[in-house]
């Protein structure tokens, strides 16, 4: 989706969204003249908004939260792969 649709759905200020992109909290595809946001980008923007508005986390804090969260998802994805491979290996041994 374009910036306009993201703004409609999140009620965020375009300026704010641009700051988040500059800080690399959001990584939409496309270039400055035409960003293309995914549903994941939108959900991530809502999460940042929750952190800021509901929890009162400041910008420094948000950068740390996002960094740790991205690591957490990396580890979860790794664990999931290992579990899948595990199941495959057992399946192979049975056959």
């Amino acid at each position: 989706m374009e910036m306009r649709q993201l703004i409609e759905r999140t009620h965020l200020d375009p300026q704010v969204v641009n700051t988040w992109i500059e800080a690399e909290w959001l990584l939409p595809m496309g270039v400055r003249t035409g960003f293309d946001f995914s549903e994941a980008d939108l959900a991530r923007a809502l999460f940042i908004q929750d952190l800021k508005v509901d929890f009162g986390v400041n910008d420094e804090g948000i950068a740390i939260v996002l960094h740790l969260l991205d690591q957490l998802h990396g580890l979860r994805s790794l664990l999931k792969n290992i579990r899948t491979a595990d199941a495959l290996a057992f399946g192979r041994d049975d056959g």
């Binding site: 270039v31 994941a40 939108l42 959900a43 999460f47 929890f55 009162g56 969260l69 990396g74």
Partner: protein, 302 residues
Amino acid sequence: MAGDPYATLGVKKDVSQADLQKAYRRLAKKHHPDLNPGNSSAEEKFKGITAAYDLLSDPEKRAKFDRGEIDASGTERPHQRYYRDFADQGDWSGYTTSSGFADFGDFASSEDILSEIFGRSSRARRRGQDVRYHLELSFLDAINGGKQSLVLPDGSNLEVNIPPGTRDGQTLRLKGKGRPAASGGPPGDALIEVSVLPHAYFKRKGDDIYLDLPISIKEAVVGAKVAVPTPGGTIAATVPKWSNTGRVLRLRGRGVPRPDGSKGDEYVTLKIVLPKKPDPELEGFVARWQPAEESPRQSMGV
């Protein structure tokens, strides 16, 4: 939300707004689904907490609830899609990082761990994700080709080689310029969708260029050698004498370059224009001129 919002937030009936917010933040931080990617009950709890807070943080609603005029139902926020639902689909996104286990050395990536454990050399290594970009080109840059620089969201530059004759809507693929693979596999590609801006006077149809060329009455009547713009630069072309508006000159090989090295043509449609300012001399001798031919609208029966 069922039950007592005060109990949900663990506060007393006479809690101040400040303490209410504190209690809410303490619980919400603990139960926000995005901070609990693996806990499926977090979402339900979080919904209850936010609903309770939305009710009690509004003094009017809180008073109504205290007087028993409303109950705690119907105050849930509309369902929100959480980031964890996307991040947890198993695939790596641009956000996911392996820095949480980069120090495992040889085990730095999940695919490596897998092949280490199971010795599955045949397992295809997963490529990094392709990334789509959009690039706006001027009409002539698209036709003549050349290098263009694309500024990425992270501020870095990507040099894009535009092949001559690039079309509107065409996608250029830059191999290996996409996201890096999480697993030591090859990086993805950058897919660049090109849109070409219109030109002030050139039009393109396939590999041919179309142009309306204004000429003066004198050039039309007695003929002339005139300068004609083409995508490759200005060239001289001959307007034959007695050329009417609508006459088309074909300039062979002056169109859009094709991949095989040949070029399309440029079609120049002549358009007779009067001088911008009224010219008494011209008016004078046209008024004296007695055309032999009848009305040029004869074919229309008028």
